[in-house]
C-alpha cells in the first residue's frame, strides 16, 4: 500500500458534484456576471457623481456635526414616542388579524385545501407590498397621520406573523390534541388547551421579532406622511437643518438598538 509514484491513484475518480450540478453552477455564475455587466453598462449613473461621492458625503457629515441636541426635547421626543406607539399598536393589530388567517392557513387546523391556499394568498399579498406602499395607500384613504401609519404597519406584518404562526401550528404535536379529542373537548378547548400551550413560545418570539422590525420600519413611514419621526426628519431635511437631522438620526439609532436589546432580554426570559 505504499505510495511510491506521483501518478494519480487509480480507482474511482471521486467528484463532489454530478456533471449536471456543475453545469448548473457554472450557468448561474455566467448569468450572474452577465446580469452585472448588463446592469453596469445600462444604469444611468453620471460618473462625475461617483468620483465625487466621498467628498460630498464628507461635506454632509461635517455639516451635520455637532448634533443640535436642544432640538430633541421640543420636537424629536414626541415624534419618537409616536413612532413607538405606531410600531406597537401596528404589531398588536397585525397579530389580531394574522392569528385567524394563520389558523386558516395551517393544514392541521383547517383540513380544506381551498381555504389553506386562500389564506396563504392573503399572507403572500401582504408580504409582497412594501410598508411604504401600504403607507401611501392608507395615507390616500385615511389622510396623513399616525392612523395611516399604524394600519400600514399592521397590514405589512400580517404576512410575516401569519406565515410563521401557521408554520408553528403545523409543527405542533398531535398527541395532546388527540387526547383532548378523546376526552370530548369542544373545538375552542382544543385550540386553547391543545395547540396554544405548544405554539405559545413560538408566538411570543414571532411577535417580539416583528415588533423589533416594525420599530425600524415605522421610523420611515413619516416620509410619505404617515406620522412618526420620519415626518420630523423629512421637515428638517427639506429646510437643510443638518444638525437637527443628525439629532434625529441619533435618536432613531438609539431607539433601534434599545429595542433590539429589549427583545433579546425578553426572549431570554420567556423562552
Amino acid at each position: 500500500m505504499s505510495v511510491t509514484t506521483n501518478s494519480p491513484p487509480s480507482g474511482p475518480n471521486w467528484q463532489r458534484f454530478t456533471p449536471a450540478q456543475r453545469l448548473a453552477r457554472y450557468a448561474v455564475y455566467l448569468v450572474a456576471v452577465m446580469a452585472l455587466v448588463w446592469s453596469v453598462r445600462n444604469v444611468s449613473i453620471i460618473p462625475e457623481f461617483l468620483y465625487d461621492a466621498h467628498n460630498q458625503m464628507a461635506d454632509l457629515l461635517t455639516r451635520m456635526w455637532p448634533p443640535d441636541l436642544s432640538y430633541y426635547p421640543t420636537t424629536v421626543h414626541g415624534a419618537l414616542i409616536e413612532t413607538l406607539h405606531i410600531a406597537t399598536l401596528g404589531t398588536i393589530l397585525s397579530i389580531v388579524m394574522a392569528v385567524p388567517i394563520g389558523l386558516m392557513a395551517a393544514r392541521n387546523i383547517v383540513p380544506f385545501r381551498v381555504v389553506n391556499e386562500f389564506a396563504k394568498l392573503i399572507l403572500v399579498a401582504s408580504r409582497s407590498v412594501n410598508s411604504l406602499v401600504w403607507a401611501l395607500l392608507f395615507v390616500a384613504i385615511f389622510g396623513p397621520g399616525a392612523l395611516a401609519g399604524t394600519i400600514a404597519i399592521a397590514f405589512r406584518s400580517i404576512g410575516f406573523v401569519g406565515k410563521l404562526f401557521a408554520e408553528a401550528v403545523e409543527e405542533a404535536s398531535p398527541g395532546p390534541v388527540e387526547a383532548l379529542t378523546a376526552a370530548g373537548a369542544s373545538w375552542p378547548a382544543l385550540l386553547l388547551k391543545g395547540y396554544w400551550p405548544q405554539v405559545q413560545p413560538a408566538f411570543w418570539s414571532i411577535a417580539l421579532f416583528r415588533w423589533d422590525i416594525n420599530v425600524r420600519e415605522s421610523a420611515v413611514l413619516g416620509l410619505v406622511g404617515a406620522g412618526g419621526i420620519g415626518l420630523v426628519l423629512d421637515t428638517a431635511m427639506n429646510f437643510f437643518q443638518w444638525t437637527r437631522v443628525a439629532t434625529i438620526l441619533l435618536a432613531i439609532f438609539t431607539v433601534v438598538v434599545l429595542a433590539e436589546i429589549l427583545v433579546t432580554q425578553i426572549r431570554k426570559r420567556l423562552i
Partner: protein
C-alpha cells in the same frame, strides 16, 4: 363524602390557581392600547370616513392602466439594475468585512470596529440611508445603489461573521499545519465550510434588495419608486395599480429565482 369534596376543591384550587401576575400584565396591556390609541387621535369617525374614501379609491384603481408601459418598463429595469449592482458590490464587500468581524479568527482590535460598522449599517432602514445619500450626492440610481450596498453589508456581513464563528477549527488547523499563508487558510480552510450558507444569505439579500430597489425611488434614489410616488401625487390611481401589479410580479419572479438558486447550490 364531604371531606372528599373538600380535597377535590383544594386540588382544583392549586391546579387552576388564578395567575394574578399574568392578569396584571394583561390589564396593563389593555390600558396601554387605550392610552396609545387616544394619543394617536384614532377615532371611529375617522375610520368610517376613511372606509368610504377607500371604496372610491379602489374604484379609481381599476381597471389598471398599462398604456404608459414604456415608462413602467424603464422604471422596473432601473430598479433591477440597482438591485443587481448593489447586491454584487454589497456581497463582495461583505466577504472581507464579515471575515474581519469573526471573533474566532481575528483579534479584538479588528473585530470591534468591524462589528460597530455592521451594527451602524444594520440599524438604519435602507430608505433612511437612501435619503442621506440622495441629499449628499444628488438624485438618481447612484444614491439608491450606495444605500442598498450599505444595507446589504449590514445584513450579509453580520450573518457571514456568525457563520464563520460556528465553523470547525480542526480543518483550519490542518491547513495551517501545512504552512499555508493566511489567505490560503481562509480560502481552503474557512470558505468551503461557510460557502453554502453564504450563498443562502446572498440570495436572500438579492431578493431583499430587489424589494427595496422598487422603494428607494420614493426618496429620489432611482427606479420604479419615483414613478410610483409621482403617480400617487397626481392621483393617477389606475397607473398606481398598474405599477403595483408589475412590482409584485417582479418580486415574485425574483423569489422564484432565489429559491431555484438555493436549490442549485444545496
Amino acid at each position: 363524602m364531604n371531606k372528599r369534596q373538600a380535597e377535590l376543591d383544594q386540588i382544583r384550587a392549586v391546579a387552576f390557581a388564578p395567575d394574578w401576575r399574568m392578569r396584571a400584565v394583561w390589564l396593563g396591556f389593555v390600558a396601554y392600547v387605550i392610552y396609545a390609541t387616544g394619543q394617536l387621535n384614532f377615532t371611529w369617525e375617522r375610520f368610517v370616513v376613511g372606509l368610504d374614501r377607500g371604496a372610491t379609491f379602489l374604484g379609481r384603481m381599476f381597471p389598471p392602466e398599462f398604456k404608459r408601459w414604456e415608462l413602467l418598463a424603464e422604471g422596473l429595469l432601473e430598479s433591477l439594475q440597482i438591485a443587481i449592482i448593489s447586491s454584487a458590490v454589497g456581497i463582495l464587500l461583505s466577504l472581507p468585512i464579515g471575515l474581519l468581524a469573526a471573533r474566532n479568527l481575528m483579534p479584538v482590535a479588528v473585530t470591534v470596529p468591524a462589528r460597530a460598522f455592521i451594527a451602524l449599517a444594520r440599524s438604519f432602514h435602507p430608505i433612511i440611508i437612501a435619503i442621506i445619500f440622495v441629499k449628499a450626492i444628488g438624485f438618481g440610481p447612484l444614491a439608491g445603489i450606495l444605500a442598498l450596498i450599505f444595507a446589504s453589508i449590514g445584513f450579509v456581513a453580520k450573518l457571514f461573521a456568525e457563520a464563520i464563528e460556528e465553523i470547525s477549527l480542526k480543518q483550519v488547523e490542518a491547513v495551517r499545519a501545512t504552512g499555508a499563508s493566511f489567505m490560503g487558510v481562509v480560502i481552503m480552510g474557512v470558505l468551503p465550510q461557510v460557502f453554502s450558507r453564504f450563498i443562502g444569505f446572498a440570495t436572500y439579500q438579492l431578493d431583499s434588495n430587489l424589494r427595496q430597489s422598487t422603494m428607494v425611488g420614493i426618496v429620489g434614489g432611482g427606479g420604479i419608486g419615483g414613478t410610483l410616488f409621482s403617480a400617487f401625487r397626481r392621483f393617477d390611481y389606475d397607473f398606481v395599480c398598474a405599477i403595483l401589479i408589475s412590482i409584485i410580479a417582479m418580486i415574485m419572479i425574483g423569489e422564484l429565482i432565489a429559491s431555484w438558486l438555493r436549490k442549485t447550490f444545496q
